[in-house]
């Protein structure tokens, strides 16, 4: 118990300690500060591997539970734990933060401030994925928001103020909606913040249909903004375009996953009835985002905007996979629950895969931007001649985004699409059409940027080959893209038991209320 508390707390707070450790160093010692910060992110990643070491993929319940009093008067506890849903994302966070830190050498101004905010951000993200107390979750959610605001607003591009405030306000709207929902649950459950207890309460039918529906809508909008799903996505292209490269990596690699994670961890378990009520909406929004994002990506000329829209498209698969919960209209019993499990697993896998491929794509854009200071895809070309290693690695990462088999993007995309037919053939067919559009915009981009006889933009002399640090980041991302692609079972294995458990409890929660509101009164108030 204590070991677990120490390990999980270390995973969360090691970066914070790192942030304060930086204060000790001389303000001019940039290199030393970067190395220190990198050391802390590596140590954090090592911690996440330690968590994986202690993790058992066979256990159905939450593991490594920690419960320490924080504000016991209000029933707020320091509750931590991991399961199959959070475990892979914790690993992803550790990895992406480490790589983003390695990509942070390009930040030359206010280095200490940057590094400290970066590390605080990592704490916030880890906290979101590990905490099991709604209040704690909310606190970490907000903790993550501020550093991000400053990281975009201070170290960003020309329109950084606009992008930062847009990011901040969008996310804040989501937070406020989440806060309302949180209080709704708190006061309807006998003042409980424990997510596990709340979900058990919901499984027993403890929350009324109306409460569940309204709370689900609030939570869903909050998380859909983060995901981001159409029509809440327009903060993303701006934030990405203006954010510095490493921050874009984190934004795409980790932050977007919080939307999907929030739906799986909070919105659905706490309001199973609401989730079933909104299943069609989730699938519809997901499918629309897939197609819409792909079309929008095709029309972009700014490389980063293009990748940002591809994220909208790719995260649409996550919503699709999560939402395909089909029930019998008369009995309320689950139909094809194996396909739904497949959808959820594939959706989570898609989050991981997208974390690797989109972080990689932003990194690759960043490498170019550091050299020639522009991102217009029409003004590149000929990079296969000038930077062959870069071109090879960039092509691999693009192909991972394209959903090429044996690379990370394939299993998630195809998995969600395959499982979707059992929910709705029409939706499945539309989402499958995304593969054509994706191939279109990615190959067209590769052609314009990498191929061709000569480089067409400014500063051709600056296009020097990648240095060792950049190569290392790109190679690590490629390796992970291959591992996830060739052996997806390594990650799917972690999720499997939890997903089965999740779908069953959701089904129970739905069936408890499905018979009508009459039973609800009996079950209320334990």
């Amino acid at each position: 118990m204590n070991d677990h508390a120490a390990l999980l707390s270390a995973t969360i707070f090691l970066p914070t300690i790192g942030a304060f450790a930086l204060l000790v160093l001389d303000r001019k010692a940039h290199e030393a500060m970067r190395m220190t910060a990198l050391g802390f992110t590596i140590a954090t990643f090592a911690c996440t591997l330690g968590v994986l070491q202690n993790f058992s993929s066979a256990a159905t319940a939450m593991q490594m539970n920690v419960e320490l009093p924080w504000i016991p008067n209000w029933n707020i506890y320091y509750r931590l734990g991991v399961d199959g849903i959070s475990m892979p994302l914790i690993l992803l966070t550790g990895l992406v933060c480490m790589l983003a830190m390695m990509a942070s050498w390009s930040i030359k101004e206010h280095v200490r401030g940057y590094l400290m905010l970066f590390l605080l951000l990592e704490t916030g993200m880890m906290g979101v994925f590990i905490s099991l107390d709604f209040f704690l979750f909310y606190v970490f959610w907000e903790v993550m928001l501020l550093p991000m605001y400053f990281l975009i607003g201070v170290w960003g591009g020309p329109r950084k103020e606009y992008a930062a405030i847009k990011f901040f306000l969008y996310t804040l709207v989501g937070s406020v909606l989440m806060l309302i929902a949180m209080l709704m649950f708190y006061f309807n459950s006998g003042r409980e913040f424990d997510l596990i207890k709340l979900s058990q309460f919901a499984e027993a039918g403890g929350f009324s249909q109306e409460l569940q529906i309204s709370a689900f809508i609030l939570l869903f909008i909050g998380f859909a903004i983060k995901l981001p799903a159409f029509p809440f996505h327009t903060w993303l292209p701006d934030a990405h375009v203006e954010a510095p490269t490493p921050i874009s990596m984190i934004l795409a690699g980790v932050l977007l996953k919080m939307g999907g994670y929030g739906i799986l961890r909070i919105a659905m378990p706490l309001c199973p009835y609401g989730a079933q009520f909104a299943a069609w909406a989730m699938v519809g929004i997901g499918v629309f985002s897939i197609i819409y994002g792909a079309f929008a990506a095709m029309a972009q000329t700014d490389f980063k905007r293009l990748v940002a829209y591809s994220s909208v498209s790719h995260m649409g698969y996550v919503l699709l996979g999560i939402g395909i919960w089909k029930v019998d209209e008369h009995t309320g019993g689950g139909l094809n629950s194996e396909y739904w499990q497949m959808g959820i697993n594939a959706a989570m896998f898609q989050m991981l895969a997208h974390g690797v491929s989109s972080a990689g794509m932003f990194f690759m854009v960043g490498v170019l931007y550091d050299r020639v200071h522009h991102r217009d895809v029409n003004k590149f070309g000929g990079l296969t001649q000038i930077m062959p290693l870069y071109s090879g690695l960039a092509a691999i990462i693009c192909c991972a985004g394209l959903g090429l088999p044996r690379l990370s993007g394939f299993s998630g995309e195809v998995g969600t699409v395959l499982s979707a037919w059992s929910f709705s053939p029409t939706m499945a067919i539309i989402s499958a059409a995304g593969v054509i559009l994706t191939a279109g915009y990615i190959l067209w981009t590769i052609q314009r940027v990498l191929f061709g006889p000569e480089y067409k933009g400014p500063h051709p002399e600056a296009l020097i080959p990648m240095n060792g640090r950049e190569t290392l980041v790109a190679v690590i991302l490629c390796v992970f893209a291959f591992v996830l692609g060739v052996y997806p079972y390594a990650m799917l294995n972690l999720m499997e038991t939890t997903t089965v458990q999740l779908t069953q409890s959701l089904q129970n929660g739905y069936e408890a209320l499905q018979g009508g509101a009459a039973q609800v009164g009996l079950l209320l108030r334990p």
């Binding site: 972009q300 396909y339 001649q385 062959p388 394939f410």
Partner: protein, 842 residues
């Protein structure tokens, strides 16, 4: 076959073919990494010509060829050449061994002759051949002419699972009871494909050692690419990259063939697609090449979209992707076994609405899940079949997705030979053949018509094309159409038979064209060639062999016939048998028959224009030369199977071997159903039409050749005159039936328009809304400020002012005069008392 035998043989085959499959992947790794780092670690090696990557690639694929041949014989020995149950077919395999001998030992001998002249380049290939010959020589060669035409195959339903082996390499994913594996399914068809692919790939790899040797330089000048300064484009050679991509392709292609489930096929389907993309776009600096590569991949994705829909249906209703489970110990059934009972019938419930199909267990009993037996609506079976076939349309360049293949000729010629004629594009046909049990008659009829349209379109465009590679590309499209047509009219064996023969003669033809292009210094226009037979005699001779083979020529009444004759004869016989019972579909015979004539015409046109007559361009002719031995030897080697691989026709060894994998329901033919009035002919019926079809085909081909001779050989008729008489038709054909323009208007432009629309919507609606909200907030905040300043603050300020004013007035009272204060106090007291007295109740 006992379970032990099954397991041990299966294991041997798994490792043999697994090694043959994975070796090219290992090769790819070494080539790409070694090629990249080799140059950088040792800068002194700059400019040194190393063919190491090529040798590694040849070694890998050559070893693969040997291993697959060994696997073939292992399988043959273990299963009595596909008939483990009885001995009645044992004769067939003896003659099979002979044909393999003919197909492989002879090339080895041919290689031998030239080995002395050859440099070390062919050593690998030579070894391969020799080893193969050795492997073959160890098998007994018995009597070869003992069986009559098709005996033993026509009257008995075949059991395709009797000699098949299934197993798993590793698990990809599981979801509850559902799982997807990387696995293998090995039967006669798999092995034939393996040997064919590895053998042809070996030949082409060797050829490429010579063809790509100009890439062995640090300063390659590309005359087709002009830079902004008017200079030509210079770059380091990419010899190692080429062979790395080639190896990767071989790996992907073999993975596709060995796959034991349709999902794994899909995985490698996409991988061959990306390899094809890399190879078409090999000259990345050429805009035309990278555009063609994009086009190829995206059009394939359009097909894969359909494929994916098919997979969804299968996955949802069958819950597995596995083809079949041939294990003697039973177990969970594969797709084929679920759909078809052991005798090959489908259990359609016509009474149900919508029509249902009941699924089976391995033993033919109905499959029960939960309380009900598992069913699939018949309609969805059609959707699944058409979906998977849509993938085949994309990959095999069938109408309406055929336009990518001619553009794919932008790649180097060995690529066209390996990827875009012999193997990858044939994968669509292979899959249609492999997946045959899942196709219901409605789907088959669609396949037949798609094939029929394609073969005609391809052939007509080939009539007017002048680029030597494009003629071959359109011919490939047309021939693939023949295969699809055959599959569609019930000729499973005819279609796959043609797949194999076509692979040999078409790769030969492409290599010959490569030799011509190499010899003419990258001149591809036939209008600048002519009279080359004296300059390159070997190429001319082998290409003539290829032309005869593809045209399907033979000498009637004798056994002298090249491979193409046998397979095309089989196709036409099947379609004649088909239309004789389904007279409404007469076009399915007439069109391919006419096209057989067209085929002969354009192929001989190609040969005459290139090799015969007088040189049309003196400059090209003067510099033309025969290719080096490393390129000529593969031509000679390949010309042998191009002639003899189909020896014996449908009764011959190759066909017999493939027939062991034929789905059970085909031998007797398929009767029409209440809904679908189409009958598929059985073996016996087809056999009855062999002679008629053969003669008609021969007649058509011969007239094509004769016409071609008059047009381009003797030049008694001037093609230009005809061209001028029908300018509309000519222009239509030269413009490739306007498909490219049509798709541009129909798809490409609308997609870009919608894309721009989405961007506009984002910018002008969603962002406008968000920004508008922000503006409204700011405006409200402004009002709030005004209110605050005018009212709230105003009130407070007023209050302050009043207080202040009052204070100012009152301060006059503050005089500091004691007497005045005492008076105030006294007055106050009096006043208070007055108040008390007035207010206190009495």
């Amino acid at each position: 076959m006992t379970l032990d035998q099954y397991l041990s043989t299966g294991n041997t085959l798994k490792w043999l073919l697994g090694a043959a499959w994975l070796l090219p992947l290992v090769g790819f790794m070494i080539e790409i990494l070694g090629g990249y780092w080799g140059k950088r670690i040792d800068p002194a090696s700059n400019g040194r010509k190393t063919r190491a990557a090529g040798y590694i690639a040849v070694g890998c694929i050559g070893t693969g060829c040997i291993l697959s041949t060994i696997a073939l014989f292992t399988w043959g020995n273990a299963t009595h050449w596909g008939h483990p149950g009885g001995d009645e077919h044992s004769v067939a395999l003896a003659s099979h061994a002979d044909a393999e001998d003919a197909g492989h030992a002879d090339p080895a001998a041919a290689d031998h002759e030239h080995a002395a002249d050859d440099a070390a380049e062919t050593a690998h290939a030579h070894d391969t051949e020799a080893d193969e010959a050795a492997a073959i020589a160890t098998t007994p060669v018995d009597d070869l002419h003992t069986i009559e035409h098709g005996e033993g195959h026509e009257h008995h339903a075949n059991d395709p699972y009797a000699a098949a082996f299934y197993g798993s390499f590793y698990r990809l994913m599981t979801f509850g009871s559902l799982y997807i594996d990387i696995d293998y399914y090995i039967d006669g068809l798999t092995l034939v494909m393996f040997v064919m692919v590895t053998f042809i790939a070996t030949c082409i790899h060797v050829f490429a050692l010579g063809y790509m040797s100009e890439e062995l330089t640090e300063d390659y000048e590309d005359h087709q690419v002009h830079l902004s300064g008017g200079r030509h484009f210079h770059r380091p050679g990419r010899f190692y990259q080429f062979f790395a991509y080639f190896s990767l392709f071989s790996f992907s292609m073999l993975g596709l063939v060995i796959a034991g489930n349709i999902f794994m096929v899909f995985i490698f389907w996409e991988l061959v697609g990306i390899c094809s993309y890399l190879l078409i776009g090999f000259y990345t600096e050429r805009k035309s090449a990278s555009t063609a590569a994009n086009k190829a991949f995206i059009m394939n994705r359009v097909g894969d979209f359909g494929f994916l829909i098919g997979l969804m249906v299968l996955w949802t209703y069958f819950g597995t992707f596995q083809f079949a489970n041939p294990s003697p110990s039973g177990g969970s059934p594969g797709l084929f076994q679920m759909l078809r009972a052991p005798d090959g019938s489908i259990a359609v419930d016509d009474a149900a609405d919508p029509r249902d199909v009941t699924l089976h267990n391995v033993d033919g009993t109905s499959l029960v899940r939960g309380e009900n037996s598992k069913t699939i609506p018949y309609m969805l079976l059609i959707v699944a079949g058409l979906g998977v076939f849509a993938g085949c349309i994309g990959k095999s360049a069938q109408f309406p997705l055929q336009t990518w293949l001619p553009d794919a000729m932008e790649g180097p010629t060995p690529v066209s030979a390996l990827v875009h004629s012999a193997t990858m594009v044939a994968a669509g046909v292979y899959l249609a053949g492999r997946f045959y049990p899942m196709f219901v008659p409605e789907v088959l009829l669609t396949i037949a018509y798609i094939g029929c349209i394609t073969l005609f379109i391809g052939a007509t465009i080939a009539l007017v094309a002048t680029d030597i590679k494009r003629v071959l590309a359109y011919s490939t499209i047309s021939q693939l159409g023949y295969m699809m047509l055959a599959l569609g009219v019930g000729g499973w064996i005819a279609g796959l038979f043609h797949l194999i023969t076509h692979a040999f003669f078409k790769s030969l033809l492409f290599l010959c064209s490569g030799s011509v292009i190499h010899g003419c210094h990258h001149e591809q226009e036939m209008t600048k060639m002519g009279g080359l037979r004296t300059k390159m005699p070997f190429t001319a001779a082998t290409m003539l062999i290829g032309c005869i083979a593809i045209s399907g020529l033979a000498i009637p009444g004798t056994f002298i016939a090249f491979s193409g004759y046998h397979s095309k004869d089989a196709i036409l016989a099947t379609s004649l048998a088909f239309v004789s019972t389904n007279s409404g579909h007469i076009l399915l015979f007439v069109v391919p028959l006419i096209t057989a004539g067209l085929t002969a015409f354009y192929m001989f046109r190609l040969w005459f224009m290139t090799f015969a007559g007088q040189p049309r361009d003196q400059h090209v002719h003067e510099h033309a030369h025969e290719s080096p031995w490393v390129m000529v030897a593969p031509l000679l080697v390949l010309s042998v199977p191009a002639m003899f691989v189909a020896f014996g026709g449908e009764a011959g060894p190759l066909a017999s071997l493939m027939l062991t994998s034929e789905p059970a329901h085909l031998a007797a033919g398929v009767d029409s159903t209440a809904v679908m009035d189409v009958t598929h002919p059985g073996h016996e019926t087809i056999h009855g039409y062999h002679n008629t079809a053969g003669m008609l085909a021969l007649l058509a081909a011969a007239s094509g050749v004769v016409l071609s001779y008059f047009f381009y050989g003797r030049k008694v008729v001037d093609p230009n005159a005809i061209r001028e008489q029908v300018p509309g038709v000519y222009g239509f054909l030269v413009e490739k039936w306007q498909f490219d323009r049509l798709y541009e208007v129909l798809w490409v432009q609308p997609v870009h328009m919608v894309a721009r629309g989405c961007q506009w919507f984002d910018k002008h609606v969603l962002d406008c809304f968000a920004d508008g909200m922000a503006k409204v907030s700011v405006r409200i905040a402004g009002l709030d400020r005004q209110f605050d300043e005018a009212f709230v603050d105003g009130f407070v300020n007023w209050l302050a002012r009043v207080t202040h004013g009052t204070g100012a007035v009152l301060k006059n009272v503050q005089t500091g005069n004691l007497r005045q204060y005492v008076m105030f106090i006294a007055l106050g007291l009096v006043g208070l008392f007055g108040l008390f007295l007035a207010l206190i109740p009495k």
